[in-house]
C-alpha cells in the first residue's frame, strides 16, 4: 500500500492505495470521478485522458503513486463553474459526441492540443494529433469541426483579453 496525495480539480486529496493502482482507477474508485473512462487497457483509445501538471496524459498508463504530488484536472474540473470550457461548448454545438464514452478523453486531449498550438490549427493537424484517441460513433467529422471551432474561439478570446490588458 502507498500513500498518494494530489491536487485534483483544485482540491487537495490524499488516500492510501495498492501499489498497482492506476491513476485512472484511483480517480474513479477512490475519488468517485467517474467521468474519466477506461476503454482499452492498452493505452490506445484515450478515453482516460486527464491533465497532469498541465499536460494531457492517459491515466491508464500511470500509477497513482507516480502521480503523487501532481496537480490534476479531470473532465469534471474543466468548466469554470456553470460556464462550460470553450472545447466543451464546441463539442455540444457541433455534435462532436454521440454515446459520450470517448468524449471526456477527447475533450481533455483537444484542450491540450489547442494549448500547444497558439498559432491555430488546421484540419490535417487536428486529425494527426488526435492519433491517441479513438471514437467509434462520430467518424471524427464533427469532433474535428468542434476542435477547430474551439481553437478559433479561444484564440479570439485570448486576443480579446490581450487587447483589454493592453
Amino acid at each position: 500500500m502507498s500513500d498518494v496525495s494530489l491536487t485534483v480539480n483544485g482540491k487537495r486529496v490524499s488516500g492510501s492505495t495498492e501499489d498497482r493502482t492506476l491513476l485512472v482507477h484511483f480517480l474513479r474508485e477512490h475519488l468517485g470521478l467517474t467521468g474519466t473512462h477506461v476503454g482499452c487497457d492498452t493505452s490506445q483509445c484515450g478515453a482516460c485522458v486527464v491533465h497532469v501538471d498541465g499536460r494531457a496524459v492517459k491515466s491508464c498508463t500511470m500509477l497513482a503513486v507516480q502521480a503523487s504530488g501532481s496537480t490534476i484536472v479531470t473532465i469534471e474540473g474543466l468548466a469554470n463553474g456553470a460556464e462550460l470550457h470553450p472545447v466543451q461548448a464546441a463539442f455540444k454545438e457541433h455534435h462532436g459526441l454521440q454515446c459520450g464514452f470517448c468524449t471526456p478523453g477527447m475533450i481533455m486531449a483537444a484542450t491540450d492540443m489547442i494549448a500547444h498550438h497558439p498559432e491555430g490549427l488546421d484540419e490535417a493537424t487536428v486529425r494527426a494529433e488526435l492519433d491517441g484517441n479513438i471514437c467509434r460513433c462520430t467518424g471524427y467529422h464533427n469532433i474535428v469541426k468542434a476542435i477547430l471551432a474551439a481553437s478559433q474561439a479561444m484564440s479570439k478570446g485570448s486576443k480579446g483579453r490581450a487587447k483589454q490588458a493592453a
Binding site: 467517474t34 469534471e76 464514452f101 494527426a128
Partner: protein, 782 residues
C-alpha cells in the same frame, strides 16, 4: 418547424452530462456492499473440461465466492438460446447446440466462460481467478466455416452433423438457373465479407443485485434493449420471474448491435449475487470484449449475375456460407437469412433471384448482428457484382445501375420485400454531382503525374429498416414481436415526460424525441424529458437496433401524442365552451380557431388533474399510452461514391473524398442524422481498409486488442460530403425511414470498387490494408 421542432438542428439535451463527466454508465454504478467479479475463460478453442478445482482460489484474500457451471445448472439456470427459428430447405429445424452460461463439460471457443470469481476488489478477483485450476483435454479446433462443413472436421456440437446449423434457401432456383443459362453475359465472383468486432467504446458490463428481503433482482447492464433482456432472462434462463427482475440500461457507450444480446455474464452476475449474498459487478476489459462480444459478418459467397443483351439483369444466384461461431447468439440465425437474402434485389429490378445459405459452427466467438446486420453483406455482394459486371460489359458503372434501377413503386421483389417508395436516380445524380464525377478523369491523370494511382467507386445500397411488422416476422420465425411502445405523461404543470421502449446509446433520442413533442404542443424543449432504459419505469418495449427507433419508436410516441392531443382538446373545448373541432394547439396555447379565446397549455394540464370541471364522464389526468406495430419495413436507400489515391510504393490508400447521398424519408434533426451517417461511414471504411478479426488455426484470436485490431482513427478518414433527399416513407405516420446503419451498409463496396479501379484488378480482400494493396500492385506487375 420552429427552432426546437421537427426539422431543426437542435443541439442535444443529453450532451451536458457527457461533456462534463456526468454520464452514468454501468461501471460508474456503486451499490453498498458491492463486490467485483472476474470470469475464468477457456484458453482453448475446443476442449473437454476434465476437472475444475476451486479450493485454492476460494482461500485467496478477499474472495467471496468461486462458482462453476455445475452449481449454476443445479440451481436451474437455463441455456442461452437463439430467438429466431429457421428451418432448412428439407424442413428440419436449425440445430441449436447447448450454450451454458458457464461451460460445464466442454468449451468451444477461446473466451468461453467457465468459472466466476467474486472478491472484494477486482485485483483480488483477478488474482484468485489465476488460482482456479481447470484440467482440459484439448480437441482439434476449426475456425474457417468453409472447412468446418467438410467431412472429418472437428465436431463442435453433437446436435449439428458436420457443424451445419441449417441449409436454407430463398427465391426461385429454377427460374434463376434458367436466366443464367439463357444469359447474354454472366458475371461470376467469389465474395468474402470479413469478420469484424463491433467495438463499442464502452466495454460490456453487468451489475447484479439480489435483494433477499424482497426476493427481487436488479440488473444494471450495457443493453440496447433492457426489456428484452428481462423477458429472455426470465422466460428462458429462469433467473427470476419478470415481476421480480428489474433491468436498467443506463447510459450505454455505443452498441452497434453487440449489446442487443443477452450474454452469459449478466445472467451469471445476477445468479452469483443471490448465491454469495452481495451485489456483483463485472466489467469487461478490452481483450475480454474482443474474445466474448458477438462478432459480425464473416460470409463467403459464390455469386452469378446474368444479363441480357441490353445489359438488364435477368437473374442473380448467390450461395453463401455464414460463420456463426461456437454458439447460436440471440438473433444470429436471422442475420444471414431474412436480413440478408431479402435485400439481394438491391435497387434493381431483378426478375429471378435465388439465395442458398448454409450457417456453420466454428470454434470462434459467436457471430450476430453488427451495424447493418446482413444488409451490408447483401450490399457488398450486389455492388461488387455490379462494378465487376460494368467493367466486363464495358459500360459505365453509373449507366449499368441506372439501366436496372427500380423506378415504379410499390415494387415487389422476388425475395419477399415490397419496396414502398424510393427515387434511386435522384440519389445517384446527387452523389455524382457532389463528387464531380465528370472531373475524375482529369484528377486521375493529375495523380498519375505525381506517381499516384487514383480510383473511383460507387455503391447504390438499399436496406430494410423499421423492424418490423410483428405478424410478418413471426411468420418467418421470430420469437418476439417487433412493435414499440410509448407513454406520454403530461404533468399537472404542463411539463411532459415521454417514456419510450427505445433505448438511446448515442443516437440522441432525448433530443429528437423531445422535438416531436415540442412540434406538437409548442412547449419549450426543456420542458420535455425522455425516460428510457429502465423496466421499472417504462412499460414493455423492444429497444434499439435495425434503425428502428425513429420509424417505430417515434411512431409509437406520435400515436400516444394523438391521444393526448385529443383529450386536451376535449378539456379545452369544455372549458372554453367551444366546439372540440375548433380547438387548435399552437405555441403552448390551446385556442379556439378564429377567435381570441385561448388557454395556456399548463392550464389545460392542470384542469385535467384538479378534475374540478371536466366534461361529463371523463377520467382525470392527461397521460396516454400507445403501441405501434409497423405495417411494413422501411426502405432507406442512397448512393455513396469513394475516391482514393494509392501510393504504389507503400500500398497506402488515402480516401481523398467520400460522398454520401441518402434518402431517409422525413428527418427530425438533420444534425443528428448527419452524425449517424458519419459514424456509419467510418465503420464501413474501417471494414474496407483496416478492420479484420483473425483467428489462427488453433482458434486463438490474433486480433484481441487495439494494438492488433485496427480501429479507424481521425487521420484515416476525410471529412465527408453528405446530403439527403427525402422521399417520405408512406408506411408510418412520420414518414421516417431510418438512418443508423446506412453508412456502414453503403460504404464498403464503394471503397473497394475505388481501390480495384485504381489498381486495375478484379478484386481485393477486405481489409485492403497497405500490405494487401502493395501485394496486389506487385502481382499485377509480374
Amino acid at each position: 418547424m420552429g427552432i426546437e421542432g421537427v426539422g431543426a438542428r437542435v443541439a442535444r439535451k443529453e450532451d451536458k452530462r457527457f461533456i462534463t463527466g456526468g454520464g452514468r454508465y454501468v461501471d460508474d454504478m456503486v451499490v453498498p456492499g458491492m463486490k467485483h467479479a472476474v470470469f475464468v475463460r477457456s484458453p482453448h478453442a475446443h476442449a473437454q473440461i476434465k476437472k475444475i478445482d476451486v479450493k485454492k482460489a476460494q482461500a485467496m484474500p478477499g474472495v467471496v465466492g468461486v462458482l462453476t457451471g455445475k452449481e449454476l445448472k443445479a440451481d436451474g439456470i437455463g441455456n442461452l438460446i437463439c430467438g429466431w427459428m429457421i428451418h432448412s430447405k428439407d424442413g428440419t429445424p436449425m440445430k441449436m447446440g447447448a450454450w451454458s452460461p458457464l461451460a460445464v463439460d466442454k468449451v468451444r471457443y477461446v473466451g468461453d466462460a467457465v468459472v466466476i470469481v467474486v472478491a472484494d476488489t477486482k485485483g483480488q478477483a483477478r488474482d484468485a481467478a489465476e488460482a482456479v485450476e481447470i484440467t482440459y483435454k484439448e480437441l482439434k479446433a476449426v475456425v474457417d466455416a468453409t472447412k468446418a462443413i467438410q467431412p472429418g472436421a472437428p465436431q463442435i456440437h453433437g446436435e449439428a452433423e458436420n457443424n451445419l446449423i441449417f441449409d436454407w434457401e430463398l427465391g426461385d432456383a429454377k427460374a434463376t438457373d434458367a436466366a443464367i443459362k439463357s444469359a447474354a453475359h454472366v458475371t461470376r465472383m467469389k465474395i468474402v465479407n470479413n469478420r469484424l468486432v463491433p467495438n463499442a467504446m464502452e466495454p460490456r458490463a453487468a451489475l447484479g443485485h439480489y435483494d433477499k428481503a424482497e426476493d427481487h433482482y436488479t440488473c444494471w447492464t450495457t443493453s440496447q434493449n433492457p426489456h428484452l433482456a428481462r423477458l429472455v432472462m426470465s422466460a428462458f434462463y429462469n433467473v427470476a420471474p419478470e415481476n421480480k427482475l428489474r433491468v436498467i440500461a443506463p447510459d450505454v457507450g455505443g452498441g452497434f448491435g453487440s449489446k442487443i444480446y443477452i450474454y452469459p455474464e449478466e445472467i451469471v452476475c445476477l445468479w452469483a449475487s443471490k448465491k454469495t449474498g452481495v451485489p456483483v459487478k463485472w466489467v469487461a476489459d478490452r481483450t475480454e470484449s474482443f474474445l466474448s462480444d458477438a462478432h459480425g459478418r464473416d460470409h463467403v459467397s459464390t455469386v452469378e449475375m446474368a444479363f441480357d443483351k441490353d445489359n438488364r439483369i435477368t437473374g442473380l444466384k448467390v450461395d453463401t456460407i455464414a460463420n456463426l461461431g461456437a454458439y447460436m447468439s440471440l438473433f444470429s440465425s436471422c442475420v444471414p437469412t431474412y436480413l440478408y437474402a431479402t435485400l439481394l434485389s438491391g435497387q434493381y429490378d431483378i426478375p429471378a433471384i435465388h439465395a442458398n445459405v448454409r450457417t456453420v459452427y466454428t470454434n470462434t466467438a459467436p457471430v450476430d448482428a453488427y451495424r447493418g446486420a446482413g444488409r451490408p453483406e447483401a450490399t457488398y455482394v450486389l455492388e461488387r457484382m455490379m462494378e465487376t459486371a460494368a467493367r466486363e460489359l464495358g459500360v459505365s458503372p453509373a449507366e449499368l445501375r441506372r439501366r436496372n434501377f427500380i423506378t415504379s413503386f410499390p415494387h415487389q421483389t422476388p425475395v419477399i420485400m415490397n419496396y414502398d417508395a424510393g427515387d434511386y436516380n435522384t440519389s445517384l445524380d446527387a452523389a455524382m454531382k457532389a463528387a464531380d464525377y465528370a472531373g475524375f478523369t482529369k484528377r486521375r491523370a493529375d495523380a498519375a503525374k505525381q506517381g499516384k494511382l487514383r480510383g473511383i467507386g460507387m455503391s447504390c445500397y438499399i436496406e430494410a429498416c423499421g423492424l418490423a411488422p410483428s405478424a410478418a416476422v413471426g411468420s418467418l420465425g421470430a420469437g418476439v414481436g417487433l412493435w414499440e411502445s410509448a407513454e406520454v405523461r403530461v404533468n399537472a404543470v404542463g411539463t411532459i415526460e415521454v417514456l419510450t421502449g427505445s433505448h438511446s446509446h448515442g443516437q440522441g433520442h432525448e433530443t429528437t424525441f423531445a422535438q416531436l413533442v415540442t412540434q406538437r404542443f409548442g412547449v419549450p424543449i426543456d420542458s420535455v424529458s425522455i425516460v428510457h432504459g429502465d423496466t421499472d419505469k417504462v412499460q414493455m418495449g423492444m429497444g434499439t437496433y435495425g434503425s428502428r427507433s425513429g420509424a417505430v419508436g417515434m411512431s409509437a410516441i406520435a400515436k400516444a401524442l394523438d391521444k393526448v392531443e385529443a383529450k386536451a382538446k376535449k378539456i379545452a373545448a369544455h372549458l372554453l365552451e367551444a366546439d372540440e373541432g375548433d380547438i387548435v394547439i399552437e405555441n403552448g396555447e390551446v385556442k379556439v380557431a378564429g377567435t381570441d379565446k385561448s388557454l395556456p397549455w399548463l392550464q389545460v394540464a392542470l384542469a385535467s388533474y384538479t378534475a374540478h370541471n371536466l366534461p361529463a364522464g371523463m377520467e382525470p389526468g392527461l397521460k396516454e399510452t400507445a403501441f405501434y406495430d409497423p405495417s411494413n419495413f422501411t426502405f432507406p436507400a442512397g448512393c455513396y461514391i469513394c475516391e482514393v489515391e494509392i501510393d504504389p510504393e507503400t500500398g497506402l490508400t488515402e480516401i481523398v473524398q467520400f460522398v454520401a447521398a441518402d434518402d431517409f424519408g422525413n428527418i427530425i434533426n438533420p444534425m443528428i442524422v448527419e452524425g449517424q451517417v458519419h459514424g456509419g461511414i467510418a465503420q464501413g471504411v474501417g471494414q474496407a481498409l483496416l478492420e479484420g478479426a483473425y483467428y489462427d488455426g488453433n482458434g486463438q484470436l490474433l486480433t484481441a486488442s487495439y494494438m492488433d485490431y485496427t480501429m479507424p482513427r481521425a487521420a484515416d478518414l476525410p471529412s465527408f460530403k453528405i446530403s439527403t433527399s427525402n422521399t417520405p416513407c408512406p408506411g408510418n405516420p412520420l414518414g421516417i425511414k431510418g438512418c443508423g446503419e446506412a453508412g456502414a451498409i453503403g460504404s464498403p463496396p464503394a471503397v473497394i470498387n475505388a481501390i480495384t479501379d485504381a489498381l486495375g484488378v478484379v478484386d481485393i480482400a477486405m481489409p485492403a490494408s497497405p500490405a494487401t494493396v502493395w501485394a496486389a500492385i506487385r502481382a499485377t506487375k509480374h
